[in-house]
Symmetry: C2
Amino acid sequence: MDLSRSLDVIRIVSGKTEKVRDFVVREISLAIGVNKKELVTLQCSPGKLEYLAIGFLLSQDFIKDKKEIKRISLSEKNCCIEIDLKENFPDIGNFSYKGVIGSGCAGGITFLRNANLPGFALPKGEPRYFSRRILGLMKKFQNKSSTFKDTGGVHSCALGNQEDIEVFAEDIGRHNAVDKVFGECFLKDIPTEDKVIFTTGRISSEILIKVAKRKVPIIISRSAPTDLAIDLANNLNITLIGFARGSRINIYTHPYRIIGEE
Amino acid sequence: MDLSRSLDVIRIVSGKTEKVRDFVVREISLAIGVNKKELVTLQCSPGKLEYLAIGFLLSQDFIKDKKEIKRISLSEKNCCIEIDLKENFPDIGNFSYKGVIGSGCAGGITFLRNANLPGFALPKGEPRYFSRRILGLMKKFQNKSSTFKDTGGVHSCALGNQEDIEVFAEDIGRHNAVDKVFGECFLKDIPTEDKVIFTTGRISSEILIKVAKRKVPIIISRSAPTDLAIDLANNLNITLIGFARGSRINIYTHPYRIIGEE
C-alpha cells in the first residue's frame, strides 16, 4: 500500500481560488494481537508494519529476545498483525500502555532525572563522529523521505553508522517511526550499540528512553529536545544533538563524541 | 513555572565549536487522579494544567457536563491534579486510553470513514470566513507563541472567532495543546460551535475527532492532514484546511465556508 494518496484540493492563494491535484499522507489503523488476544490498535502509516509491531513490543518491554517470538502473521488487507510469543504473555486486562502517554511513569521519570541508573546508562567514550560526517548523513537521511516531499505529513527515523544510513522508516507518528527502525534492527540482528539515531521529530523523554533501551549512544534531530530528554541523556551518557540544519548542530550532552574539525 | 529553561549548549557551525546559552522547552509529568484513583500521567508542558486535565477527560468522553465536576485541585509543585466527579467514575482497572494510541478504535474509525454518523455530523452551511481573515488570524495565532520562538519545541492551538483569537495554549504535545484549549472553553462556558480551531500540528484522525466532538466547524493547520482525517472531516461536514502559510491555504473539505475574494 502506498504511503500517500492523491486527491482534489481547493487552493486559495492571495484570495484567488483554484482546484489542484495534491498528495496527502495515508493513515491506517493497525490492530496488534499477541497470543490470540487483542493488545492495541496503533494509528500509523502503511509499510514496515511487522517492524512497527515488534518495535512497539520492544519499547513496552514485552519482548527482550528474538527467540521469544514464535510467529508473526501480518494481514495487510485487514490491517492486523498476530504475534505468537513462546512465553505466556502478561494478562492484557492489566496492560496500561505505560510510556505512550506516560501512564504510571511519573515516578519512574523523576527517578531517571535524578539518578545514575546503573545498568541502564551507556559507557562514556566511543564512538566518535566528525560533525561534518554527522551532518552529511543527516542530509542524506532527510533526502530519503520522498513521502515527506510529496505530503509534508510524515516523520522519519534512521539508524546510521560512520559510512551510511543502514535502516530507514517513515510514519505519521514520530514514535512509530522510531519503533519501526528498532523493530527492523531487532528482527534482522543489526547491532545498534555504536550507531547514531537520526530523527526529524522533537526529542521528548519517551523518544530518549526508546533510544537508551537499544543502547544507541548518539541521537540527532533536526528539531528541538525537551529539558527532561536532555536531563535523561545526561544521566544515561547519551550524546543528544538538536537543530541539525545546514552546517549547524547544537550538542546538549556528552559532546566528546562529536569532533568539530576534520 | 516557566515553559522554558536556559542551559549551556555546544554549538558547532561549519566545524567551528562555541559554547552558547540557549533556551529549551520544559517537559513535566502531570498525574491525573479522579475520585481518589490514579487515572493517567501525561508528559506535557507546564501551564494551564487544569484545562489539560479537563480537556483530557472531555476527549476521552469521561465528562459531558460541567455540573459533573465537584472539585479540581492542582498541586503544581507535585505535578498532580485531583478531580472529584459527582457521578461514580468507571472503574480505572478497565480504562484503556481509547483514542490516544487508538486502542480498540479500528472498528470505530472504519465505521467513521464509511458512514454519515448521524448525531455526530455538523450542519452544513454557516459560519463563513473570508480567506484573508482566516490567514490574518493564523498569523496572529502563530505570533502568540513566544515559547516556540525561544525553543522551537512546542505546538500551539487556539480557538478563534471572526474578530480575534479567544483561547490559546502551548504544549510539547499537539494533542495536549488541543485538550488545553477545549478544557478552558468547557470550564469558562466559551461556545465553540461557530468558531475556528488553529493548530501548528499535523491533523490526524484523533485531532479531527477531538474537534468534531466540540462541534467546531473549521480546523486550520500550518501543517499537513492525513487522508483519514480528511475522510472524517468530509463525513462530519467539517472544513479542513492545511498548509496555511503566508497568503496560501489548501482546503480539503467543505470549501463553501471559506470565501476567496474579500
